[in-house]
Amino acid sequence: MTLWLVPLLPMLAGIAIAAFGPQSRRALAAISGGVLAATLILAVLAVAGGWTGALDWGGGIALTARLVPLSALILVMVPAVALPVTVHAALHEAQRGLPRLVGLMLLFTGGMVLVVAAADLLTLLIGWELIGACSWALIGHDWRDRDNPASGLYAFVMTRFGDLGLFLAAMAAFGATGSFAYDALGGLQGPVLLIVAYGVLLSAASKAGQVPFSPWLFRAMAGPSSVSALLHAATLVAAGAYILARLHPVLSAATGWSVTVLSVGLATALAGGIVAVLQNHAKRLLAGSTSAQLGLMFVATGSGYPGVAALHLVAHAFYKAPLFLAAGLAGDRAGTYALDRLRLGRVMPLVAGAAAVAALALAAIPPLGGAWTKEEILKAAEAAGPWVAFGVVAAGAMSAAYATRFLLLAFGIGKADDESPAWPEIVGPLALSAVTLILSALWLGPVSGDLAALLGIALPEGSRFWLALSLLVVALGGASGVYLSRESPDLGTAGTAAAAADWLGLPTLVFRAVVQPFERLATSAASLDTRAVDGGIRATVTLMEWAARTSQRFGEAATDGLPEGTARLTSLAGRDLRRLQTGMSHHYYAYLVGGLALIIVFLALGA
């Protein structure tokens, strides 16, 4: 069997559903759930059977798909996360355009699967472009609100800019090796390797919402919360972290690449933490946390442990998705995402429970799986250097703080409501939280050891000091989160905090540094066009008009008179000549004789 089946099944099903899907929620849920379940089974089978795929495009270009242990892990994770999220979307999201939403989510998942399964840069690019386009369509799903398409466009342009890096990398690699295959990248050296490595990094950072591309994640919140869940947990954002981990073996040889990855990741982790702590918008808080967690994964990759990053990616997927779904449920119920106005613990206790599990995992509270992977990252950072480890510890403290704050503010004890969400709406979060709970097994030494062995992952060694310090700091962070939620629930609604909550002014910076200069350049170019280029044309027009007027005044007589006079002469001659045309054969005969005589005279004179 070919590996192409795994991405193609959700893709084709998604297109079919988007085009011809039923309006009924249950039917949609059943169909999409079935498709994704089948995809999951296929993925498992593919991993177990070691399927590959190859397609000869011609001209030396071939599309290939092959799995390594790391990608196998992600390959299983993606449909596993997408299944409950998509079913939840079918059961919960607004009825209008639901088949399109569900279909696009399937397509989105298929694209991500393709990215994961890809074994060459071209296939990767195809999947990459597909998920980019799907994210645009999904963020702008509710296009009747004019802000949503704009947000989708913002996100699209931002990630698209990053895509340039991938294109650059692919072209450079192809130019240098004549092949797009990952395997061929190993032989790269010198500037080409630099171009490829940093191109991929640029692309990954933009997709993963790393500094300075982070703001697009906030704008991406315009989409439905299911989309956010899918986008943050399993697909688009995850793709950035995944591709770095996947290509780490070949790219880490590039000068300064690991350090750069590490730096970007650490900066994002810290900045994202601050932003999330100060954020008052439930989904944006989660978005900031996503940036921060992805930053931690970058740190792990930069430290030389891509396997750890992948494990954290999986754990993150399973707890971030229910958090988004819960936030969505809460926001839809409350009509707002302002944290200081939610407190829905009593309204939806089961959701609150699921969110609690996921939030604790986010906060890295043992014994949850998220905590284990985070500690592994700490160990990796420790290997990179104490300052890095310290940064990771600080980031951990902040994640504990914003996770606690989110949980308490969103699902704290508030007013009761007689109506709880229906079961179908909470199945998704519950299932995902359950998986998070199961991941707790990672704390068991044999389990994690076996998993690492299975995946061929080298687990870093760490000291107990840092572990203890980390746990202590996490506790402190949790405490500060409790404090903040009690004392100042409206943190981030006004003042400096609010300003800082918007990515520490990064969007403004982007606006000032990029957008405005561009606009100014465009404006001045336009005015230059108007004045200089257009001026020449206007002058030509004026000159021509003057020439036309002049020629009309003076040239008329000459240009018109000449043909008219000729015509008059010709018609006069014609009238005279017509008189020869009598119709009388004897006249014609006489003309003939005359002509013949002329010819003979001519010939006689000539001879």
Binding site: M584, H586, H587, A590, V593, A597
Partner: protein, 239 residues
């Protein structure tokens, strides 16, 4: 000055005189036979010039042709008998000048050109030469002439047949008016009338006062029976 010369000058003078008389007599039949006389003279000159076959053939052919022409004269033309003086000419002065000019120019050319002299040898087998030539070197030309004559026969029959592709060819025919564009003068043919009878219609009404004339003689066996043959088997005669 031999007898041959005398005969030549006599025949030449006769040929020119009869040729001139062709256009000066009132009767068209006379004109026709004057033309025949002119041809005959030329044929006899040909005999004098030792063109024995050509001379005889000229007389032969022209007799037949002029006979046919005479028939047409009587069929179609006014004043066949020459009972009335007749002068049906146009651009007369121009024609005279043209004829004289041509004659003068050609005579001048003849007189001014040094003509070669290579008379045919008395013992030359001219008739045999002609036969060999016609069926030898120039056979293609000769046969082409034959085919052309055949096509002429067919064309003449088709053109002169009253049965056209779209009914009788004289359907809707209208005699010309007395003045240009005027009302038709004379009898109009009856539709599908008896075959072969052009005869008996009462003249053309004057033709601009160029003299009265009697009706055209009847009994037109139309087409050229003698020369071009072909349609002889429906020889409508009678009149």
């Amino acid at each position: 000055m031999t007898m041959t010369d005398v005969a030549f000058y006599l025949l030449s003078g006769f040929a020119i005189w009869t040729g001139w008389r062709v256009f000066r007599v009132d009767s068209m039949i006379r004109a026709t036979f004057l033309l025949l006389l002119s041809f005959t003279s030329v044929g006899l000159i040909g005999l004098l010039l030792s063109a024995s076959y050509l001379g005889a053939a000229t007389i032969f052919m022209m007799a037949v042709e002029m006979m046919v022409m005479g028939l047409f004269m009587v069929m179609f033309m006014m004043n066949p008998a020459g009972l009335n003086p007749m002068m049906m000419v146009h651009q007369h002065r121009l024609s005279i000048v043209a004829g004289l000019l041509i004659f003068a120019a050609m005579t001048g050319a003849v007189l001014l050109t040094p003509l070669p002299s290579d008379p045919v040898a008395a013992d030359r087998p001219v008739l045999r030469d002609l036969g060999i030539e016609l069926l030898g070197d120039s056979m293609l030309i000769f046969e082409t002439a034959g085919v052309t004559l055949l096509a002429t026969m067919l064309g003449a029959v088709v053109l002169s047949s009253r049965r056209g592709r779209f009914g009788p060819t004289d359907a809707g025919s209208v005699p010309p008016g007395l003045s240009a564009g005027g009302p038709p003068a004379g009898r109009q043919p009856k539709g599908g009338g008896s075959h072969g009878g052009h005869g008996g219609h009462g003249g053309h009404g004057g033709q601009g006062g160029k003299g009265a004339h009697d009706g055209h003689g009847g009994g037109g066996s139309h087409g050229g029976h003698g020369k071009n043959g072909g349609d002889g088997n429906h020889g409508g005669h009678g009149g």
